[in-house]
């Protein structure tokens, strides 16, 4: 296995025979700013590389966004060491370890199906309402899952990554968001 894409794969965009070996690339430190619209309750988040997290209130279409929190965070992409493919994860604003057991939620049903063989992590995008129709890409979710599984020890629980659009309801699908909140509460 050289990791090089075949000619056939090269002629089909997005298709490769490479058995990817992912590494993090373009790792940047900053703040994950979470905002809420106090009219409709929508939440939005974005990554900021400003020295201080922006806290301005502003109007955007029907929303009036108000600062809710700003936590230290990193933004990264994934690059295959073998074929050089780079996967953009700029829409990924967080990962949540799912504890959802709701049979009405696709994530909860998947958890029941997998049992103790795997841990489900939800890849969170910055838009709770998914109004724009965009979420973390399918390719990004797949690459993240491969990345977190590629170095695990034999017998370790498998990691299953799912997009946040799979949740029935952002407020009902329970999980533990990996965040650096509480650093001042040590």
């Amino acid at each position: 296995m050289t990791g090089e894409p075949t000619d056939a794969a090269a002629s089909s965009p997005g298709v490769t025979t490479c058995s990817h070996r992912w590494s993090m690339t373009d790792v940047r430190s900053g703040y994950l700013v979470v905002e809420g619209c106090y009219h409709c309750g929508a939440r939005s988040s974005f990554f900021s590389e400003e020295p201080v997290a922006p806290m301005d209130e502003y109007r955007e279409g029907p929303h009036i966004w108000e600062y809710l929190s700003g936590e230290q965070a990193v933004l990264f992409g994934l690059r295959c060491d073998r074929c050089g493919k780079v996967v953009d994860l700029s829409r990924l604003t967080g990962l949540a370890m799912s504890t959802c057991e709701d049979p009405e939620c696709a994530v909860g049903r998947l958890a029941q199906e997998l049992g103790r063989t795997a841990s489900i992590y939800v890849a969170l995008c910055g838009e709770s309402t998914h109004e724009s129709g965009r979420c973390v890409s399918e390719e990004g979710v797949a690459a993240l899952q491969e990345y977190f599984n590629q170095g695990r020890r034999p017998g370790a629980r498998r990691i299953v990554v799912v997009p946040c659009s799979m949740r029935s309801d952002a407020d009902c699908c329970r999980g533990i968001v990996i965040s650096d909140a509480g650093l001042t509460d040590l």
């Binding site: 790792v27 992590y121 370790a156 990996i178």
Partner: protein
């Protein structure tokens, strides 16, 4: 793992099974852990919240050691138990415990 537990006087905070340790990672930041901790590592930290366990699980940390005698809440211990990550604590501060691991030959 059992050699480290015995020689550094770690106190277990729940059930644990012996296993191999592949290095050490010291961090109190979840974002740093998921971008830097290697699989099979001993994770040395002060953080005791659930986010720490979620981070340790996704990078496949072999064990977590809380410095300065920090003790996680029961729900954090239950979460760690559910994903089979053994938890320990030491009365040492992070630096002192890291030096002890270094003296044991851990790199």
């Amino acid at each position: 793992m059992s050699e480290i537990v015995e020689k550094t006087g770690l106190r277990p905070l729940g059930a644990w099974e012996d296993g191999d340790i592949a290095g050490v990672y010291c961090s109190d930041m979840a974002s740093d852990i998921i971008t830097g901790a290697p699989a099979g590592c001993l994770l040395l930290t002060l953080q005791t919240h659930k986010s720490l366990i979620a981070s340790a699980n996704v990078v496949d940390a072999a064990m977590v050691v809380f410095a300065h005698d920090k003790r996680p809440a029961d729900d954090v211990r239950e979460l760690a138990d559910r994903v089979h990550i053994p938890l320990f604590c030491t009365t040492d501060d992070t630096w002192s415990y890291a030096v002890r691991l270094f003296d044991l030959g851990m790199r």
